[in-house]
Symmetry: C2
Amino acid sequence: DPQYVNFDPHNQIQNLPIGVKTRGCDGYPDEDSDESYNLSVSEGQAVLRSVTVWGALRGLESFSQLVYQDDYGSYFINKTEIVDFPRFAFRGLLLDTSRHYLPLHAILKTLDAMAYSKFNVFHWHIVDDPSFPYQSRTFPDLSNKGAFHPFTHVYTQSDVMRVIEHARMRGIRVVPEFDSPGHTLSWGKGQPNLLTPCYKGDVPSGSFGPVDPTVDTTYKFMESLLKEVKFVFPDSYVHLGGDEVSFACWQSNPNVRTFMEKMGFGKDFTKLESFYMESIMNMTAALNRTSIVWQDVFDYRERIPQDTVLEIWKGETYQAELSRMTQAGHRVLLSAPWYINHISYGQDWRNSYAVQPQNFSGTEEQKKLVIGGEVAMWGEYVDATNLNPRLWPRACAAAERLWSDEEKTLDADLAFPRLEKFRCELLRRGIQAEPLFVGHCKHEYDGL
Amino acid sequence: DPQYVNFDPHNQIQNLPIGVKTRGCDGYPDEDSDESYNLSVSEGQAVLRSVTVWGALRGLESFSQLVYQDDYGSYFINKTEIVDFPRFAFRGLLLDTSRHYLPLHAILKTLDAMAYSKFNVFHWHIVDDPSFPYQSRTFPDLSNKGAFHPFTHVYTQSDVMRVIEHARMRGIRVVPEFDSPGHTLSWGKGQPNLLTPCYKGDVPSGSFGPVDPTVDTTYKFMESLLKEVKFVFPDSYVHLGGDEVSFACWQSNPNVRTFMEKMGFGKDFTKLESFYMESIMNMTAALNRTSIVWQDVFDYRERIPQDTVLEIWKGETYQAELSRMTQAGHRVLLSAPWYINHISYGQDWRNSYAVQPQNFSGTEEQKKLVIGGEVAMWGEYVDATNLNPRLWPRACAAAERLWSDEEKTLDADLAFPRLEKFRCELLRRGIQAEPLFVGHCKHEYDGL
């Protein structure tokens, strides 16, 4: 509690008055939330000023990190004048709770550490092929039959509310992703007739492909699901996925082929995917929510609703993609270079730190369309056993890139000692953050 | 407690009688310990037989892993007849407590997991350049001045005794490594005049190199230290290091150059290192202990005491090195392909599993000289925050290679489901073992 931070007896700071200018929109953070703050610390006095409560949270975080302790246990802070605001409005972190189930506790802990690093969006990739842990009110069979286990490996409605509230208290938005039409194998278990039956020759093979985009029941189901999502998740954004759709199953299915013919799509299945995505993006817009989709949707069809946010995940070509998408006038999120589920030996945080999201050919207006980026921790090889040391402090490199002024943060060697110190602070706060190199912290992780 | 394992009421097994043939040498395990056991489970009756108490421990471990639980909580075991013994007598795991300090708890936990995987040697790389956490009785300044912190980042005598006892109870030997003459920077802080002062031209530069092998005080110090090591560590082996000695500092020092001339070593500093290593290997032999040294010592001088065990750490040429060392009649430990501090994305346990320690050109007699191998977890990027998920279940691949018959364990795809199941067992036993791929365990790590 910063009110009780004590200093040199002659110049003790007895409290930290906080002045917040407006009270509008402080129930839940959104894309326009002003996170700026000014912090002034002088002899015997400290003041924090912000425009919104979200800015005050960022300022308190900085304040707490400026306080240090001497060998006798007294707390100190140096004189400082800070004028601070984020470079990007969207600073996200993705967790994948489908490839492995992450216990509620692991998600809450991640939100804590996100706040320490000033991340402000939790992108919850909540369902995917392997499992459907979201316990739906409308369609309880989705998790009853599609979760790894219907009781122990699910997120109940109260679990989800707890995540949202824990995030909100830290100024973090929760953007859920219900990825379709691909990545939906687990959905099919609890929702018959949703997925496309694949055919071998003239007969169904018994296996299933992406969501079937040719039947009305699919759109009725998606509309009900999205209505529930709107009801449960207060954020103005919903991630609709749209990535990596395999066309082989659609192609094998005679009904799909008939539908393609009727619609005049020829043999171009990207048109079928676009048709489906457009439908659910329109549904989402009708629910007064902004869609985020993976880059595939744009790559297939450049004419998509203008306010759709596009997220880049393909690594090799991301700069060209940034140009194209912003030229088409879309807001863009960059994730491709921040897939930190990928690991290598040594200090790979330096790769994350070197990323410059606005370093692509385009006008100033185009560059402004890059609203931020996301660190993605995909779950193929990650669960609660290794999540924290893989995330922290590696994710902090992207966090600084997304918050701080570019020119002041060009040199990774200058960042290194700060990151080392911050990692020790994370340990002290109970985050199992792994070491950057040889050395020690005053308060080590005890592993108990 | 296996005495209370219950089964189908008609065929309940009420206890597991254990017959141990001999009572000799069961105070502390050694290289000749017989770890074989026979386990027989039939209707209503189970018997475990072994030659030594160490074999009984291995059998109990297998028994515990054969027991499974049904959905109602009852325990079962299938009928089985097992005749089991290890392929290699030395199945080691190295932890590095100098580059990062590992709290006692982390070491004890590692010993638990080692026992589950039938590792039988804990190679404690206890000191190195960055820190000297071993609190010596004879030379307390070594840790007072050379540890990261003299109180919080040290292993007291009672800590060391606790490690040895915890290991012994699990049939695990503790082999300490006091690596010299290189890797000793931290030693110099508490032991003046031990390290070679480096020179810049005619004057000392202020920095220090390896142990100074030209002065009597060095050998007196090493003899006292090794006497203490013999007193503290009951194992018949001591690891003396001898790797990666940089000659630049020796070369810069005029006293060393004079000594080289006097000894007729010319410009060949490998002779100086050999001179030093031979001295401390002889000391070790006089203390009735067997030396293990890193391969460098053999590479520099093929004539070294015949009973010295050589450990291979250089990755690219390890098969040729196996040939050369065994041709010279030395017993050999293989560690090079099992540096599992090195990580990469995906299922890299398969690389460890593919290693065949006897796959080199040589006679049958030569192959018998390969007494085993070691998984090495060097500490540059590892401390208690990430140790367990990096070790487990990755180290199990080498554990199976070192215990099991080669012909029955050639196929990694057949090992995969067993390893997945074993990983879930590790989780249930409280080991933070990371996932091998997409999926779940009945009892997940809760992260609390």
